[in-house]
Amino acid sequence: MILTGEEIKKKVKSNEIVINPFDENAINPNSYNFRLGDYVKVYKNKILDSKIKQECEIINIGKDGLLLSPDILYLGYTMEEMGSCSYVPIISGRSSTGRLGLFIHITADLIDIGSINHWTLQLHAVQPVRIYKEMPIGQVTFWKPFGDIVLYNGKYQGSKEPKESQIWKDFL
């Protein structure tokens, strides 16, 4: 079952859900709007290889925003540190950003229970679109789990910035 906005608010207050900083105005009927951090990363290589560690470079988002090109993947991050040891978060875009053709994750919406981070956003624009730091760019929903819980303790835990893929470790 999906938590309502009012339930999310209650669970934040009881510390069963972490949203930091938390803004009550960002609560929706079934979700919470999160905002975009102030820089993104792009891979230095145009051609990516899953087996090889890929280096990135940082692009700051200035006051005039950043124009996204459709042929590049950008790794952004949420301003908020978020997560829960009691509920499963799922992120999505907002219909306002979807209507601009902006993906904020690439088929990877499910967040592991126990993962508490500034989440990495995978930004892809269908057409060139300008994004701005602190824009409410996506939303998170929280879902009840069924079964005994083992909390996430993986590669990306504790992230405070965009984290590039570490899938190359699977090939070691």
């Binding site: 891979y43 087996k51 042929d71 229970i113 899938i167 699977d170």
Partner: protein, 174 residues
């Protein structure tokens, strides 16, 4: 409610969830990682018509890897047969793979209850990307249902390899 990794494990052993072959190491807190099989289909027509059977090139993935072209969608397959008569399966990517800009499905993550087979993956990369057979490329989650169940008995149930769209049959069956 979404099943935890421990619940997925116990339901696989109880026979209520079908994942074959099943590797406990591939369990996550809320999902199970599936692997990429070694066969891809690449649609070879410039313009795709949903009312006719699209022509495809068959590609065999090897340990040398294969580079995906961002302008194309490729059909791959899971190594595992996956599904359940008790829970709804959702098939998505992994964040490690999303961070490389690879879509594993094109807005169609929902599996029908009762559907148990190797799943066709809809692969699209934002940048050119080299992929390899057997890589842990995505994850499945399982969800409790409410209401009377009627099992899937449709077009794709019989296939254990990448399978092209059969949208054209929806028109001819009218």
């Amino acid at each position: 409610m979404i099943l935890t990794g421990l619940k997925i494990k116990s339901e696989v052993y109880n026979g209520n969830i079908h994942i074959k072959p099943f590797l406990e190491d591939n369990l996550n807190p809320n999902s199970y990682n599936y692997r990429l099989n070694n066969k891809l289909l690449e649609i070879s027509e410039d313009v795709i018509n949903p009312f006719s059977y699209a022509k495809c090139n068959e590609i065999t993935l090897t340990d040398a890897g294969y580079r995906l072209d961002p302008k194309k969608v490729y059909l791959g397959s899971t190594i595992e047969e996956i599904g359940s008569d008790n829970y709804v399966t959702q098939l998505i990517g992994r964040s490690s793979v999303g961070r490389l800009g690879l879509f594993l499905q094109i807005t169609a993550p929902l599996g029908h209850i009762g559907s148990k087979h190797c799943w066709t993956l809809e692969l699209k990369s934002v940048q050119p990307l080299i992929i390899y057979p057997n890589m842990k490329i995505g994850q499945v989650s399982f969800w409790c249902v409410e209401g009377q169940i009627r099992f899937y008995n449709g077009k794709y149930n019989l296939y254990n390899e990448p399978h092209i769209s059969e949208f054209s049959k929806e028109l001819t069956n009218e």
